[in-house]
Symmetry: C2
Subunit: 330 residues, 2 copies
């Protein structure tokens, strides 16, 4: 297989889906020689990125994320937008599955020529998935997708990670016994710009309205996650379509408000900076913890600490000096 970066780049800029898919596969590849090519591709398309509205969508399993994204994405396509759906799903590397792996979940949207659905990268550490999803987002932007939906199941740190790569973070909520305040379980209330109570239809409608007002009340007590934006709670029904347009109105209002105040661009810059430093941090971590001398020494020191035979500060001093010595020997 020969890979031509100028060819892939040209295809992506023309919005060719096959070339976009090829570019993403390159980014997701774990092969060392693909890494350099992928970076070359990214570097070349950088000037064409950044023009989408990046939206994170979270919610516990059963909150109706796929039916919502199907309905919402289809609605956006009907307005003339181009919609890309990506996922951050750290669980996929564990169980081999992926939240978007089963494309049949979004049959209608998957067939829409204005939509592009890409499952979560199936391998890699959480940091790796994180990097690949971010870079995939950039390729999608270069291919002309102007709305990016990034879905997460909310396992581990995934919500904070998605919050760090999107402009607007949305939580899909359910109604039902004991579930009204489910979102608080993971402390994501502090991350959201908007809460959408789904399944506001039929018998469920009164409960959905009640749940929405509970969330509104809680949001009222929290400091806004986005300066100058009061986080909102809405209801909608992915089944009847009612309220789907309200969600988009909210997003447009958010986009206008924050672009005017400069908060939108500030956040993007800060996100880049934080991403840069978090990658540095993960490299430092690897350098230390993958060092073979350290790997042998750490469990010994940990056992001494746990047994109360060694002070922690002393142990850190010892392990760190050992680490530095392995370099000086080079």
């Amino acid at each position: 297989e020969s890979i031509s970066i100028p060819d892939i780049k040209a295809g992506i800029l023309k919005g060719e889906r096959a070339k976009l898919a090829k570019g993403i596969t390159l980014i997701e590849s774990n092969a060392a020689h693909h890494f350099e090519l992928a970076q070359e591709l990214l570097q070349s398309i950088l000037p064409h990125t950044g023009k989408s509205l990046r939206i994170g969508i979270s919610g516990v399993p059963g909150a109706g994320k796929s039916t919502f994204i199907e309905a919402f994405g289809t609605y956006l396509c009907s307005l003339g937008h181009k919609v890309a759906v990506l996922a951050v799903d750290p669980s996929s590397s564990v169980n081999g599955g992926s939240i978007l792996g089963d494309k049949t979940r979004m049959e209608e949207l998957a067939r829409n020529p204005r939509a592009f659905i890409r499952p979560s990268p199936s391998e890699g550490t959480l940091g790796g998935v994180h990097r690949k999803t971010r870079e995939t987002m950039l390729l999608c932007e270069a291919a002309g997708f102007d709305v990016i939906l990034i879905e997460t199941v909310g396992v581990g740190q995934s919500e904070a990670i998605v919050r760090g790569m999107v402009d607007f973070f949305m939580m899909l909520a359910l109604t039902g016994a004991g579930d009204e305040l489910q979102g608080m379980k993971k402390g994501i209330m502090e991350l959201v710009d908007g809460i959408v109570v789904n399944k506001a239809d039929g018998d469920n409608l009164p409960r959905a309205i009640k749940t929405r007002s509970e969330y509104s009340r809680i949001l009222h007590f929290l400091q806004p996650v986005t300066k100058g934006w009061m986080s909102k709670a809405l209801t909608c029904s992915a089944v009847t379509g009612k309220g789907i347009d309200d969600v988009w109105d909210m997003l447009q209002e958010f986009s206008e408000t924050t672009k005017q105040s400069g908060v939108f661009e500030d956040r993007r810059r800060r996100q880049s900076r934080e991403w840069f430093h978090s990658l540095i941090n993960s490299q430092l971590h690897q350098l230390f913890y993958k060092n073979s001398t350290i790997k042998q020494l750490l469990p010994v020191l940990e056992n001494q600490i746990m047994a109360g035979d060694q002070t922690i500060t002393k142990a850190v001093q010892e392990v760190f000096q050992t680490f530095l010595d392995t370099f000086e020997k080079k």
Copy 2:
């Protein structure tokens, strides 16, 4: 000034306050030659540590932390306990003050021969304050204090840091317009084993009871922070003393339950391990960010990233290779 570690150690084990204070001053010292002595002292008293109940107390300014600690500490002393009060206050290094600096806040407790009050270390990075407070706690345990209260004002990460060094984490809450759910602002609801609504007296009593039940309701929806322990909300009055005994009953029940299940000891072991790794991490961080070559290169790369001239992954690669090269030149 000559410092004899065996002398300080012997004094601490006998519960001599002057020697305890001398040991703490040694630990808080930033002088390099004191560091080794402090570690020697800690190493020697390690077998005599760990026998207290470690309690974190958080709450926004105005929640009545000092009046509560005064009343609660005095009550515990009357039961025959020995109580040490420490503080983690990252703001103290900024404004030069300290939440416990003004001992007159707790006049009665400060005069009690069974109590020991130590202000927050006034200098150092947050990580440094963290280390010193932990080590001070160990000295207090060796000196026979069996209840340690660690106070925090809840600035920045201080609540998570205190959670990482105590057995039980308590939030003091206020009643009053708009304040009912104040604790949620900082996401600490996920950290607490118990919430104490203070100032449950006089005209304020009905509101305090209402606030308590609001918190109970919220706690009900959250996953317990301590396995096998359902986080509780209580009311008390530091002024009338009503409910102070209920707080201690709750703590004893917590201690018995978690010691029986093994959760108590598990957490202590995990806390030691996490502290060890967090100190390693902060050392790695310093090694990298204080490197003079890196200091020059970083702003250049950051500007390129922000301007969209450079991919983040590439920038990380470059800065990291530069970092490694500075070692190989050694």
